[in-house]
Symmetry: D3
């Protein structure tokens, strides 16, 4: 299989692609044909199946399909003229070829996260955190795979874990250096702050807002889930239960960013600082990666409301 | 008993007042005395107990106390020189003399509310609403007594009920006149929209923000409570569960007013309209009531960001 | 005649369309031809008249023209190749086929409006309102036909009437339920609040901002017109004259929405609430109507700054 | 007569003051007395009339009264103990001792204004402007005396004239230097831009917002008045009528500053620039005048949102 | 040479154009060709050089090149099919044909500027200003040629001089009419206020932001340069040095417009007024020039946030 | 000496205080006396010297003075009735008793700062930083003593050093964890980011804004000073010079917070994050220190726009 961004006019193509979209249309002459959008992690490709009879097995949109065909050029854009299609089988393809994936090793990151969890001393928080990150196998599997965003930063498989770890480490630095911080509360909040994203965003290949994501949002969802689990832990201190949910609710820092409460605890402030810092710096990393190497000026960036450039001494 | 706003210099006072605050201080000569703040629904009064021995029974702040003493004037302000104090007994006083109370009949209002509840046809919503407003005796007692605010509109006993009814009626008008509205969803949301205030604000005489009010806020609390109850209703439709919680979350209409989501459903918009309309109009009613009758101009109002006046033809 | 949205490549077309735009251009060979934009209420269509001699009568842009020709496809868009043109005669076509029109019956709506007018008791307001809505035949004809907007809500023939009625009814509900409201003042203001739009927007088919609309705006125009009429009513109370014009001036609620004064009277507030509520709910109705039935999510809406969806139980 | 800011404890006082406020109160012993606020242009003074019988003639608040009495000190503030009062007669006092007055000669300023009026060439504008500033004797008298503000800049007798002249001159400079400007339109608009203030603010000694000022505002009032006068001028061009009212409506430059339309004409922009410039610079002049001479830093100024200082080389 | 906006399909072209962009591409057949963007002051033109061998001399992007070729039409756009290219020689072309240039005479404008400089009396300011505008030959040459903007107002050769003169004259008017102004400080600040643009923007043909422009901005650059020169003038008063740099730093008037300080001196306010006025009025001049003469409405303008129109009597 | 906050009515006082303010006033009887404000780090005290002859040596405001006298109570406030005054001698008092001082050891903090300086590898940055922090003895002395603010966070002796160290450490953490950061540039910028405060604020006891602070601000001052020093370092890379000044200019992150440029480099963003984080967390530390220990709710905080509370488990 060749990646989509490597194909040229006239190339013969054989291999597996994700069928992002499938439409059945008619030619002027009234004959049915398929118009497809194929996708891999390098981009998307327009494809047409003009002859629906021969060698075109049944498949649906969002299936991985094995394709044979030839690239043509239509109005300055490449198009794939498909001859044969069948559904691909697991093993024939590698999911990581189709979606963006964290550059870092998921298991190593998770191992690092567990170290911070093992450092939590307050027993109820320890129990609460463990009930998700140590004992809930289904949660752990989903958490490791989820992205942290539809588009902006950490929008890839493993992104939620990578971002959570970045925030936890930042939070730990703050607890080390500013003595008024209750470390256990801050680290626990950092671990939970974005778990609502697992219900806000569907998994890849969709990675799009769910109904609950649109209607409730990850901030509410996360705080509600932590609240539900707390009810199952006997003797969980009432105040502490309010505090950890407050940190989750307030972690966006401002009402206009979707937090229904502004930070009232120093740990909520610290979580907001850590979340914001990791998000901004990771956004810059992704911006640098996606940019053309030959220029220092990376153009106007809407998130940062500034023209961005690499500093002259970057790389040394 | 005479109300605080009717007392004059020299008056002898005998009656029950709420002791809002009690401090034990020392005179320059080193003698202990009590400095009290007494309260009824007409205002507050500074009181001193210079002789702690005779006739001064034990009492605490927030007790209702029966007092004998005389009014004096100190630095242009009235002060009560207290001779005797004992705790008042239930029956000796009327709670409604001490706190602001709705002008309307609580039971009549509740009866009206039940009519709207009886009109709900969707069975799961009907069950959900009834589980609070019909079956939960403790909830009903608390709901009828609660205020809807610390200061602004509906900040009195019965205020939550009065405001909820006002919003439900407004919502019903909208459902009658705009056919795209799902009436059951809108009425149910209107009923629940401020129930989080029962945990956000403590009851009278305090009527102040609780810990949970400050840390979580009534929007989150209300949505969470409805979510918990939904889990107990078998077969409650998943989408409907998200929709009713969305309406509660979004009822402030804008992120900067504390809603973590803007209205995405027409019912959420309608609830926001109804809530906002009842709040504004009731604020005007309270403003008119508290103003001097002799002038049309009521001065600058911060909530409305405008100088407010009565219209010339307001007489009835 | 077939509606524009029903035409296909190859169709023969005979019928009347509105000629929205007419340009005389030249081919590379130097030969003159017409490039037209045709319109009906379902959309617009590009048309070319390559041969200007035969059967092409004189017509101007904004004429209704009777056309014969054939549909062709050019660069994926349909185009009408016109063979014959003549001006259509009144009676040959139905104006309501060419512009968006209220779904509701204009005369019924106007009758309902008159009932509210007949309820006004304050004699000067009654006289003022009647001088427009009962006695001024020209005003009544124009009022019934006007739209209430260029694009957003109620942007169709009869829209101004439909919106005014919606606001009057809302205002009446408020007067019924909040006793501090001066009903006559509020209903009168509601009737007048948007009459300035009759000069702000030209009539269909243009339905676009006029010079006065751009330079003065409907808020000023409406308040000025009411002021002029008041001068003709002997003994009109000075204060009441200021109050009704205030309600008109303040009905957008905020300076940044074009009101030169914020509401200072409870009736001005109520008018703002009613106007805003009807506008938002009607916008949602139009959004639902224009949306594809097969999906609940209607996409991001700039007016509401939110992704909008139908609630699950919206079926009727 | 001595000015209020020159009086000391123990001084005997004989002279005329404006009685800003008059209240009849009772002593604890039940005896009636007057509590007065006296005013001149240097400040206000608390006064008491303990004996109402002898030598205390009838007078009302807002009368000029001739007083005899002695200054005493009560709680660190001066108070006048009044022995005799009678109403002052015209001629006994000088109005300019009681209200702030323009430093400049009113007739000279008006003469200068007339020169600009005589330069207007467009006949309808000439007629319109003259109908106010040349022919309307009552208007001229009121215009010369009015202030341009309750508090901020030009809040003194003659202030409206002084500000209008400042804006007209600025406008004339702009017309001289930027050729796209229609001078007649700009000068006429500048003359009219604040005439609505004559109805927005009452005259001295009140100088406070009127009912119409609060409900309609000077922007609407001015545009409406110019519109009414235009109707009396036969053949006044329709477009020009819209343009001059637009300039008045838009002269605050931004919706949030109370203009219902943003400037759409270059003359409206120029008027906004000239108005804003004269207002800011005059505010600075008044700030410098009111400040202590011994310091360069004049403290934080809310209007300018900055700490203000005199530049080192300001000497004249 | 014919200007680009005068060329038609089929025209033979011989003359000099600026080569704004040069790319070497390959046809499908693998043959190299040049794709060029040519520019003159009337617009840009797409050009292709299909045969690279014959008569195509070496040249680079940003060279002035002499071209022979023919206009063809491709997909409704004109394209130049180039036959011969050589670099143009100085003298063969006129720079002012390629870039926008001030309509006014540069030397006359500079002469006028010098008159204001000769009027400065404070000796240190006189010395400071002269060290740039009289003695620094290199500065003078660059100052006369520079534009004042990339796109908005005064974005042409001589624009910086024209804008500076406009602001100086405005400042002079203010100093004439408002006596609290220190004229020397204001005129000097006006002269310097935008000199930082000479480093913020590169010269034509680029006229784009430089590295320093993006990273430091003209406000900082200008204030720093004036500060450096002040250090070379013995005895320059410390306060005056702060004041003139303050005027430069604060001349945008608001923090959100890039001034690190709001105006604290009346001269800084006056400079902000003058700068803003000249910028707005010149923007309108350029808008009028670029607009179609046949319409009064010039469409929505983002800078002014308004639909703009010519006043009816413009031109008389 | 006893601290001001420990004095009671009737106490005899002997000791040294800072004379913050000295006024010579007259009694009603015409006799001169001194009215003083005394200060130590615990507060201020009103003092009167009624007899100016005996034992009252010459002194000025801002002198340390040795005082004998007695505390009296006047209108509920303590006042010192002074009998004897003489200037205190160095050694008699400890400056740290009079101003707020960092809790941390200045030399230890400075030593830690030097370690980060010694880690800078880029030779020009190393030279630049050393020229201030290693070689400039006067700078080092002033830097160690300066506060970082008039009021908010780090407003004490040593505060600038403590804050700078906090930011440098934060910056170092970021450089350790986000590989795109140029550590040398970031650390150097962090060291310099607030050095402009040494000219923006005067030293204690004043600790108030200077003329340059008001007119130029610490952001401009710091960037200008670094620019001047760079000119003395041969071969300093031009780009690097712009970059480090950009980081200083942009460190407030937003134009409306006084940065004339938004961050365009990742190092500028990181500096803004680190500065903001240390400022917020230190503000919380100071808020906790100044608050009453008996309550968790610390009241509404304007900086954080939130009611602040200690988390329940904050004990250490």
């Amino acid at each position: 299989m060749r990646f989509i961004n490597e194909l040229h006019d006239g190339d013969m193509v054989t291999g597996t692609y994700l069928c992002k979209k499938k439409e059945t249309l008619k030619t002027k002459a009234g004959k049915s044909y398929y118009s497809l959008i194929l996708q891999d992690k390098t981009g998307i490709l327009d494809a047409k199946v003009w002859e629906l009879s021969n060698g075109i097995d049944h498949f649906e949109s969002m299936d991985y399909i094995h394709i044979e065909g030839q690239i043509t050029s239509f109005q300055n854009a490449l198009q794939l003229n498909v001859k044969r299609i069948r559904k691909s089988q697991e093993g024939e393809y590698n999911e990581s070829d189709f979606f963006p994936v964290s550059n870092k090793n998921v298991e190593e990151m998770y191992g690092e996260l567990l170290k911070y969890i093992n450092n939590i001393k307050e027993p109820h928080l320890r129990k609460l955190v463990s009930s998700f990150f140590v004992e809930d196998k289904d949660f752990i599997i989903r958490f490791k795979k989820h992205s942290a965003a539809k588009s902006v930063h950490h929008g890839f498989i493993g992104g939620l874990l990578e971002h959570t770890l970045g925030v936890v480490k930042f939070a730990n630095y703050i607890a080390d250096n500013y003595h008024i911080i209750n470390r256990d509360l801050l680290i626990s909040s950092a671990l939970f702050h974005d778990i609502g994203k697992m219900d806000e965003l569907s998994t890849f290949p969709e990675n799009d807002y769910t109904d609950d994501g649109q209607l409730l949002g990850h901030i509410f969802i996360g705080a509600e889930q932590v609240g539900l689990r707390i009810r199952e832990i006997p003797g969980f201190p009432v105040k502490l239960a309010s505090e950890i949910r407050h940190c989750i609710l307030a972690h966006h820092g401002e009402l206009e960013y979707g937090s229904p409460k502004k930070p009232a605890l120093v740990e909520a402030m610290a979580l907001n600082i850590a979340d914001n810092a990791d998000a901004k710096l990771q956004s810059m990393i992704e911006l640098f990666q996606s940019a053309d190497d030959r220029t220092d000026w990376l153009g106007y960036n809407r998130l940062f409301e500034s023209n961005i450039r690499r500093s002259s001494s970057y790389n040394s």
